[in-house]
Symmetry: C2
Subunit: 437 residues, 2 copies
């Protein structure tokens, strides 16, 4: 057999026990909020027909697909997000279900892009989709839920910045721009370039100086509604835009009722990468020194169900980026520390079967009582076994000698203090529970 | 935009809220046992270099790989199991960690094979790997853990059948068979064919009538050790085989100490599909009428770490097949039923902002108290909203009228009895808690 050392694939990572403990903590916190809001968990397959992701026509996403042909010649792709799959599932089976359908997921996605801080080729998202309500209440519900999800992880410094695709469309019309999607892409990239480069790119795009001034005015429309909305009403003159601004005004009033108003801001410069958003869009930002941008985002996508062959059905949702959230929580010291080592380590002395069997019985009795217990599977000598327990910071060690056993006793050692005492075998569980507090 | 209805890919499935609730229940039960045994959760990437799976040389698995080239020209495969990835991770980073390393995982795998009962192209496994101990205690530990995992899901009718690859090797030598792997593959398939076909396939393989009789004798060696071991000592004469039988004898004694002896059986006809097993192998079987065979399996693989470029390191582990276990639990009525609908539904009458905002405030107050509450995002008329609550079997409905609100009250309706009462807004949470019991 060839001996060859193989590394993991670029852009992927191994999650070690501590990573998993942190993730589970974050997942459970978020899950609890999702469920109390009445969202139900679903999971779609890891791969779908490539066509599903192409249909949605988000160009950037299609470029980044893990696309391949399977052995049956099918064009398959690993999911880049869950929204397409959820829409497919809805069209296949749930069009006649009572509305709204409220689903959530916590799972992994795949994008073939250059790995960088907070961007991996396999990454996890916790998200929701709310399908079947066109009301602004539905937008308020998912935005409030997103805010409360972050709060549940103890994050406090963050905002959810809210923009609107209809307004951006109207804005493009106002400027006489035909390629409105092109303009939105440019606006979307504004935070990744200098002001000079941004202006230059708008010039390249064909905008006049006057139009560029308007764009610069638009992207400065960031803040609380009472400050921003009056300016927006000045900028936008079309009836459609005014109606949309009224909706946003109401949205923020509803967010007050939800009790999350403090975390919401207007940011009319937000477009969001995906082409399928149709109205309210939003992005969560948490200030950090790790170079991590948005830690989640979402918006309304009222056309997608129809694109996938369903009846016209409004929908909205968001996804939280777990590989972005966790480092931020970590850098702010918001994650608890997790003890992963066992609570008790049972060491036996000698090779006699009777002693080994008793070590197992004691270990099992502790486990049955819900105590994380191990016995020395390696059969080490006492000194080595104690060194092992010490290295793993196991707080309690039980030592079984043959002579002690004959008297129905064991030695229990408190590894922090080094104190030892002799305890009757039938009292072990009780004693250990007391020592562990 | 094209309107096209897209189905999910053959051999995959969508997991709906009820499926997810069942799975989470099963996962949490199993996870608890894994953790109390001191195993720690890890997760490796969904795809690895194809070479990783080829190196292990399990021919059948390689044939069934979801293998593809990524955009960087890399040969990548979706993982068919986690053992190879775990071994890779161990070699890359954990060779010098204190032994044994005890890891568990609960995640999805992929195999390109014909979909059939209990076999999907994407499926989930809960498994453990115990790396670094060559002692029979380690085999006993993982077998006991497997048994306790099933017991934790309330499954009671099942056995873990234990075989041995060394004995099968010795048996092949005894018969003068050179292609021992080929013989094992045949033996492994015995349960999937008639006795006649099995005998015919042994003849095709080149065995004499006498050798075939021996094979038939071997595969009948199934049962408790006190019955089977004496017969095995008669069949096997080599020192190596006798030593191995002694180990099995001791293994069952240890399983007594673990308290799981009743669920363990000898079955010398077990080979297990993978070529990397080196000694003790085992398979869990639960009688069922669903056509589901093994519900989990594992064994010792002492060479794999070395094949992957590591220092020689003994290891053992198992995986539980979730898509096989759950239908069996279900068919035996062992899964609890899960209420997925909200506990409370808040309905408001009229379109006034004040009323809508109050509906949200009440809903949020209930949610903050941990009660799964929703309000009518659709803004339906009272009758329609009540019909919706009835359809979803939501036990408690709160109705907000404008006049009631002026008095600081709402109507609470018990949907089971139809009884209604007027309650002060500040008493709602208390009242609902009482009604939900």
């Amino acid at each position: 057999m060839v001996k060859e050392r193989i590394e993991r694939v670029k852009g992927t990572r191994d999650l070690l026990p501590e990573d998993m403990a942190k993730r589970r903590w974050v997942f459970e916190r978020i899950r609890e909020v999702f469920e109390v809001y009445g969202f139900k968990e679903i999971l779609t397959p890891t791969f779908e027909y490539t066509k599903l992701f192409q249909l949605r026509s988000g160009e950037e996403v299609v470029k980044q697909l893990y696309a391949f042909k399977d052995k049956g010649g099918r064009d398959i792709s690993l999911r880049p997000d869950l929204t397409s799959s959820v829409a497919r599932l809805f069209v296949n089976k749930f069009q006649n279900a009572p509305k709204p359908v409220k689903w959530y997921y916590i799972t992994n996605m795949f994008r073939y892009e250059e790995p960088q801080s907070g961007r991996l080729r396999e990454f996890w998202q916790a998200g929701v989709e709310l399908i079947g309500s066109a009301n602004i209440e539905a937008d308020a519900e998912v935005i409030a839920l997103m805010i409360e999800s972050y709060l549940a992880t103890d994050l406090k410094e963050f905002t959810v910045n809210i923009g609107d695709r209809v307004l951006l469309d109207e804005f493009a019309k106002m400027l006489g721009v035909e390629d409105d999607i092109g303009l939105m892409r440019l606006i979307d990239k504004k935070d990744k370039m200098s002001r000079e480069d941004f202006i230059a790119s708008l010039k390249d795009f064909g905008l006049s100086d006057d139009a560029i001034d308007k764009v610069l005015f638009l992207i400065e429309l960031k803040g609380k509604p009472d400050e921003i909305l009056p300016k927006a009403y000045e900028l936008f003159k079309s009836d459609k835009a005014k109606e949309e601004l009224k909706k946003i005004e109401e949205l923020f009033e509803l967010l007050k009722a939800y009790g999350v108003y403090d975390y919401a801001l207007i940011d009319f410069g937000i477009a969001r990468g995906f082409d399928y958003y149709t109205s309210i869009v939003f992005e969560a930002i948490a200030p950090n020194e790790l170079g991590i941008g948005s830690i989640g985002g979402g918006g309304r996508y009222d056309n997608l169900i129809e694109v996938f062959g369903g009846k016209p059905t409004p929908a909205t949702g968001f996804a939280i980026g777990i590989e972005r959230l966790i480092p931020i929580l970590e850098s702010k010291g918001l994650l608890p520390s997790f003890r992963l080592s066992p609570d008790v380590f049972v060491i036996y002395i000698g090779k006699e079967f009777e002693v080994r069997a008793k070590a197992i019985e004691i270990t099992q009795a502790l486990r049955k009582a819900g105590i994380k217990a191990e016995y020395d599977l390696q059969g080490r000598k006492l000194r080595k076994a104690l060194e092992y327990a010490d290295k793993l910071e196991i707080p309690v060690v039980i030592i079984l000698g043959k002579r002690d056993l004959a008297e129905g006793k064991v030695t229990i050692r408190d590894m922090a203090t080094g104190e030892q005492k002799s305890v009757a075998i039938e009292k072990i569980v009780e004693e250990v529970k007391e020592m562990l507090g």
